[in-house]
């Protein structure tokens, strides 16, 4: 039977943080994820590394945690963070009394909020409304959720941490009140087997209640759905928050060439309910256009949503009132030793959450090492010589992007491929500048882990995430996999359809303007020309 001292359930930010922390302390740890890494809430949010400004008034503790973690993540995860800074903007609609309260609260949590003239703010961000009454600069930043998680995994692996994706835990087994193993099922083969362990960490985010349910221990996690819109433009260079009591649709976050507007808050039955409606988009647009009046002039790339794992001890509480701080539940109190759940929290504080959980676990397994995750960088810096070498083969503006998304060793491998096999320099995804060498690296290299589907490749390379949303690169990626004999038993047609459907899911609620154009091109190619749905005479 397979064995690990500690099993971590859930491949989101919290799970990978715990994996890394424990691995760095020398613990034999394995992470199990039911689908692909970062497939849940950790990638379905606006990608904001909070300065704490948003929580300063309501929850000073959370605000303080944010600014401290913000400073740490900028340091250890600099390849995932774009230090854009942020604005808090008060509009005429917003309560001036709240501004005073907020300025005071920021001081209290040691968050530098520097007031600037609204005219100056408008000069810096020309799309911003000129109706702003007050503007403050805060150290918000944009953070790439996918990359952050992958780099945590990469770091953990260097210390012996293990990861299995597409491996769903279906039972937590115990004997005499002590956890002994988990039973898992392989998503593709449906095969079931056990993995022996001493401790199980439930870091399943909005699925945490379901996982705890295997042991009949109630963990009251309420999935709270947040909807977001991705625009195909960098509308603002800075993060822009409304300076008012936290509400819907009041945060804009730029990422590379796009901008994300979010979010909403709605209690849902299942975290898997991720189909956005047009009404939700319209609702966000109406709020968003107060901050950026020309918002409707920008093409929407797609809309998406994720579930916050809001925890409440009381089954009655719902929505924004529920704490976004985190809790660690040691289920020894519920009569099961070797099982703990971590609930709630936010992406910005994932490292701190992981540290606290790892402390608890180490207490049980008699490990006395201290946490070092705040000191050591996630991935080593890219060798400057590699960057130089890469410039020979990569489209020049793609070099840094590729370097940071691939990380040191993979980047080296890709450059090597391009050097020795010029054919692999072909650009498969022109929107995001992804080369064949890169896709091959991700698909082939077992160490980068587990790319089973085109969507898995997308999450690691950004293939298909740009302007054309997969219209050209779906075919090319599949062709490339076939050419390199990497499709194994895949049904190539079904795979392409699944991938395009996943892209369309985010597009279908925003079917107007140039977005319809893009869909017509996509349909024209795959349905009209290639008859992807049929064609058996």
């Amino acid at each position: 039977m397979e064995k690990a001292t500690v099993i971590v359930i859930g491949g989101g930010a919290t799970g990978v943080g715990i994996l890394r922390d424990l691995a760095m302390r020398g613990v034999d740890v394995m992470l199990l994820e039911m689908r692909d890494m970062v497939n849940g809430s950790s990638s379905r949010y606006h990608g904001l590394l909070h300065s704490g400004g948003r929580y300063a008034v309501k929850d000073a503790e959370a605000g303080r945690e944010c600014i401290e973690e913000n400073r740490i993540l900028r340091k250890i995860g600099k390849h995932c963070v774009e230090a854009t800074e942020g604005f808090f903007v008060r509009l005429p609609e917003d309560d001036p009394a709240y501004e005073k309260e907020w300025v005071e609260a920021c001081k209290n949590i040691n968050l530098p909020a520097i007031q600037i003239d609204p005219i100056e703010a408008w000069h810096l961000e020309p799309n911003l409304t000129q109706r702003a009454q007050a503007v403050y600069r805060v150290p918000d930043a944009a953070i790439d959720g996918f990359r952050m998680a992958w780099q945590n995994v990469e770091s953990a692996k260097r210390y012996g941490g293990r990861v299995k994706t597409y491996t769903e835990v279906i039972r937590v087994n115990s004997s005499n009140g002590q956890v002994t193993s988990v039973t898992v099922q392989d998503y593709f083969t449906k095969q079931k087997y056990d993995i022996e362990c001493d401790f199980v960490v439930n870091a399943a985010g909005p699925w945490a209640g379901k996982v705890a349910g295997f042991t009949n221990i109630p963990v009251n996690v309420q999935p709270d759905r947040g909807t977001l819109i991705a625009f195909n433009h960098r509308i603002t260079n800075r993060i822009v928050n409304r300076l008012h009591k936290s509400s819907d649709g009041d945060i804009f976050v730029p990422h590379g060439s796009i901008t994300i507007l979010g979010t909403t808050s709605k209690s849902v039955e299942s975290p898997e309910d991720t189909q956005v409606t047009t009404a939700e988009v319209e609702y966000l647009m109406r709020i968003g256009e107060l901050t950026f009046e020309n918002l409707r002039g920008f093409r929407i790339l797609r809309a998406f949503c994720g579930s916050r794992p809001l925890y409440t001890a009381d089954a009655g509480a719902k929505g924004r009132g529920v704490s976004r701080g985190f809790v660690i539940l040691d289920h020894e109190h519920d009569g099961l030793r070797g099982f703990a759940s971590i609930c709630g929290g936010k992406f910005t504080t994932y490292r701190l959450m992981a540290e606290k959980m790892a402390d608890l676990v180490c207490g049980y397994i008699h490990n006395t090492m201290v946490c070092r995750t705040a000191e050591e960088e996630l991935v080593p810096d890219i060798d400057i010589a590699d960057i130089k070498e890469a410039r020979k083969y990569f489209p020049s503006f793609g070099v840094k992007l590729a370097a940071s998304r691939l990380g040191g060793q993979s980047f080296k491998n890709v450059i090597k491929r391009m050097e020795t096999e010029p054919l692999k320099r072909e650009i498969v995804c022109e929107c995001e500048n992804v080369t064949m060498a890169e896709i091959e690296e991700v698909a082939k290299n077992a160490d980068t882990a587990s790319s089973y589907t085109l969507s898995d490749i997308r999450r690691k390379t950004r293939m298909g995430m740009g302007t054309c949303q997969g219209a050209f690169c779906t075919f090319r990626s599949m062709g490339m996999l076939a050419q390199n004999n990497l499709v194994k038993d895949h049904d190539t047609i079904a795979e392409m359809k699944d991938f395009l459907q996943a892209r369309y899911k985010g597009i279908s609620p925003v079917m107007w303007g140039n977005t319809v154009r893009e869909v017509e091109l996509m349909r024209g190619i795959y349905d009209g020309v290639l008859n992807i749905d049929g064609g058996i005479d």
Partner: protein
């Protein structure tokens, strides 16, 4: 103000076809265009109709025209007019030395780059899946460095559609484009242009002769030249002593370019005036008659009068129809009445991108009568000297049905006929 008999707005397949039809009958025709239509997407085939209602049951237009909804352009046109348009195209392509084949009576199946088969209506003879069924050995031709075609992908699915019992072999031709490899990438058009040239044809044939045994079937990507001629096809066929076919590829499609060139040659021959980079901005209308259109060219605006006008600006893709918001569709030049099939939000776009249901948004468009004259909800003519063609029309989902260029052809032919009677 400049004047002519017929003004055609739009330079895609329906625009240029209607211009040719009218010009061939001696009318003075001016065509304005801003883009080049979807020639290089559609791939040069004239799909007429294959799936009227259900993707699992294919049917020729002749067999299903009676079952189509009343809003469908073919229902408005009727089979006879479609047949007349088809006859026109077959004769035209023959005259121009690149004869198309096919009819409204039967479907012709064509292999694609992903190994599926696609049913079409009118086609150049270099597209034919029948040869794959007849052969024992199928060779799939790859070109070294070529992006956008992967013979391994074609092969994988072909084995399912044509059968595993045949021998499949991938053969690679080197087009000697080392300078492009690892640089700007080798595209389908590069190979097609290489094969336009005598040296390229010779080199390719020589390389293949060493790899391919006679009597087999050979599948090429869509690269057999960019000009409307069977020269490359004939040469390869006789050099290899094999049956050959091209496979439909993702855009840009060389065969679309061939059709585009053929139609442009014909348009020039019959004296169509083509004004490039000309965007028609608005129309000057008196009561129910269009007097003239205002055209924005390079830095200038001009007004053009005509006896009749043909609208061929296409759908969403080309900007002939704009979606302002869910369910709100606009025809931006004449602001013609638009029929939207769905009223509710969730009926505007299907949950599945590809399914056995037509996409509601794809069915929105201008309503016309049997003359292709735009009409309002009461069936009254809106502008009696304007005629509407192709994807401007409501009532058909060309991707689902595989009917795009067929509707374009038939409606363009009818629009030209109607325009000449004004």
């Amino acid at each position: 103000m400049k004047a002519c008999d017929v003004v055609v707005i739009g330079g895609g397949i329906s625009g240029i076809l209607s211009a040719i039809v009218a010009a061939k009958k001696g009318k003075s025709v001016t065509m304005f265009r801003y883009g080049y239509g979807a020639f290089e997407i559609g791939g040069g085939l004239i799909d007429i109709m294959a799936y009227p209602d259900n993707k699992k049951e294919s049917s020729s237009l002749k067999n299903c025209i009676g079952t189509l909804p009343g809003d469908h352009p073919y229902s408005k046109l009727g089979l006879k007019r479609v047949e007349a348009a088809v006859k026109f195209l077959l004769e035209l392509t023959k005259e121009e030395g690149y004869a198309y084949q096919g009819s409204v009576d039967e479907l012709h199946w064509v292999p694609t780059a992903i190994g599926t088969m696609k049913p079409t209506g009118l086609y150049p003879k270099s597209f034919d899946s029948q040869i794959l069924k007849n052969a024992d050995t199928i060779y799939l031709v790859n070109f070294k460095g070529l992006k956008d075609y992967y013979a391994e992908l074609t092969e994988k699915m072909l084995k399912k559609t044509i059968g595993k019992d045949k021998k499949y072999e991938i053969v690679t031709v080197d087009p000697r484009m080392e300078e492009a490899i690892g640089g700007r990438d080798v595209m389908i058009m590069d190979i097609a242009r290489w094969l336009d040239k005598k040296e390229g044809q010779k080199d390719c044939a020589n390389q293949l002769q060493a790899l391919v045994k006679p009597g087999a079937a050979v599948v090429f990507p869509q690269v057999l030249g960019t000009v409307p001629s069977y020269d490359v096809y004939d040469k390869m066929k006789s050099a290899l002593h094999c049956d050959i076919t091209e496979a439909l590829c993702i855009p840009p499609a060389a065969a679309g370019m061939r059709l585009s060139k053929l139609l442009h040659n014909a348009a020039r021959k019959y004296g169509v005036r083509i004004i490039e980079k000309a965007r028609v901005k608005s129309a000057i209308v008196t009561d129910d008659v269009c007097e003239a259109v205002v055209v924005s060219g390079v830095g200038k605006e001009h007004t053009y009068a005509a006896k009749s006008f043909i609208l061929a600006t296409g759908g969403y893709y080309s900007g002939g129809l704009e979606v302002l918001d869910n369910n709100k569709v606009l025809e931006p030049i004449f602001n013609l009445p638009i029929k939207v099939m769905s009223q509710k939000e969730y009926e505007w776009a299907n949950v599945e991108l590809f399914s056995n249901q037509k996409q509601p948004f794809a069915l929105a468009g201008v309503t016309v009568n049997h003359e292709m004259c735009p009409v309002d909800e009461n069936g009254e003519k809106v502008l009696k000297n304007l005629f509407v063609t192709g994807r401007n029309l409501c009532g058909y989902d060309f991707c689902f049905e595989k009917s795009g260029n067929g509707v374009a052809l038939a409606s363009a032919y009818q629009a030209a006929m109607s325009a000449m009677e004004v």
